[in-house]
């Protein structure tokens, strides 16, 4: 494949984010093929990503402080947080499940927040090294980003199923809402971040 020695932006061209058409369009004009407003880079990508990432980080605190569900068996049981839920899975010997829930509910959202902050800072300071590594982190985030939804789906399934009166019940708690907000915010944050800025900032600053 023949390559040109430059980017679309430096050639005065814009790639449509929806239909991939490359046109010499002015900023914020509709794509001639699919009418999507065109921008050389996602507009205010850094500011938006910062805001969404910080909001996600902030809400991650109540998501972990508040319990997400209450399992009552034979009249016994108390509201449990995400981490307490993982701990009780380990106690009952369900190691693989504990791992899945821990990775989906703790490692993925926290990892996304840390990766986003690192990528944002690296673009701000114009880091010139670790480009491939940073792109790899960005791709990792794209691939595994959704998996934090597992806990939300799990709570809805368990609370619908376990309604056995005095024998056993599972009730959802407020933490689910906060955790849901964290998941949605991290997905939006990852989508507003423009990976092309990693390359731009590595080349622009001298």
């Amino acid at each position: 494949m023949a390559i040109l020695d430059l980017t679309a932006k430096s050639s005065g061209l814009i790639r449509c984010p929806v239909c991939a058409l490359v046109t010499p369009s002015p900023e914020n004009h509709p794509c001639p093929r699919c009418a999507t407003p065109l921008h050389a880079r996602k507009p205010s990508s850094l500011q938006k990503t910062w805001a969404l990432t910080m909001a996600a980080a902030l809400l991650y605190i109540p998501a972990n402080i508040f319990p997400i569900m209450t399992v009552v068996q034979m009249g016994q049981g108390e509201p449990k947080t995400i981490l307490a839920g993982v701990a009780s899975l380990i106690e009952t010997g369900m190691w693989p499940l504990a791992m899945i829930v821990f990775i989906a509910s703790v490692v993925v959202p926290l990892g996304k927040i840390v990766i986003l902050i690192y990528l944002l800072v690296s673009v701000h300071v114009g880091l010139k090294t670790y480009i491939k590594e940073r792109i790899a982190l960005y791709r990792l985030m794209e691939v595994f980003g959704h998996w934090s939804m597992v806990d939300i789906f799990l709570v809805t399934l368990l609370t619908t199923l376990v309604k056995m009166g005095a024998l056993a019940t599972i009730e959802p708690n407020r933490g689910v809402s906060f955790f849901g907000a964290v998941v949605v915010l991290t997905i939006f944050a990852a989508r507003t971040f423009d990976p092309r800025l990693i390359w731009d900032s590595a080349h622009d600053h001298g």
Partner: protein
């Protein structure tokens, strides 16, 4: 220089920019089964997918049919002390509404049900007439809808949630996987295969081609 909505730079070569790093490439027509990667960052730019229209159409139609089966039967059934409960895709989604958590209800409904179904419908709306050789009205808008909601469909994650619930509950009661679990597994397979078969660049090319109003 612009013909059929594609920025042509030479005989049969199309100008392509990497979605991850913006590097420009002149893309020749790809041989069958070939994958074009970005020279600078390695991202997949395009791949040639022969028969992709018919294949995607069939798999998307199968996905939609499986959705009706998934919705008609329980995913899991629980038996404990003579009592029985069950959960379906829809009953599970609305359950948290009884506890006032409508924000979570909306999130679950959208990601496990509405977005995946809307994605299938939008694809069928564009692909079915296209296979028969004409462009439906509003094809551009519908394909944009399909494009923007596809990252919000989370059937794969939902399937993992069902498996985790199954194993977790086996500890305290008798859990029976319902018909919908098998249908959901098949649905996951079909929708993934449909996503892999879809050549969105070719579809945009066709949509642009029929659209004579544009330059």
């Amino acid at each position: 220089m612009v013909s059929h909505g594609i920025w042509v730079v030479g005989p049969e070569r199309v100008l392509f920019a990497c979605h991850e790093c913006d590097w420009l490439h002149r893309m020749p027509p790809l041989p069958e089964g070939a994958v074009a990667r970005c020279r600078r960052c390695g991202a997949v730019l395009a791949s040639s997918r022969p028969d992709h229209l018919v294949r995607t159409l069939t798999l998307t139609f199968a996905t939609l049919v499986l959705f009706t089966i998934v919705n008609a039967f329980p995913l899991l059934e629980l038996k404990l002390g003579g009592r029985e409960t069950s959960v379906t895709l829809l009953s599970g989604a609305v359950e948290l509404g009884h506890h006032g958590m409508w924000d979570v209800v909306i999130l679950v409904l959208l990601t496990s049900l509405l977005f995946p179904i809307l994605h299938c419908v939008a694809l069928l709306y564009v692909l079915m007439p296209m296979v028969m050789g004409y462009k439906p009205p509003g094809a551009v808008w519908m394909f944009r809808v399909a494009h923007s909601i596809s990252p919000w469909g989370m059937i794969g994650v939902y399937m993992l949630g069902v498996l985790v619930a199954f194993v977790k509950l086996s500890d305290m009661a008798t859990v029976v996987p319902g018909v919908a679990v098998y249908a959901l597994a098949a649905l996951l397979f079909c929708s993934t295969a449909a996503g892999n078969a879809l050549d969105c660049c070719d579809i945009w090319r066709r949509i642009g081609e029929v659209d004579d109003g544009h330059p």
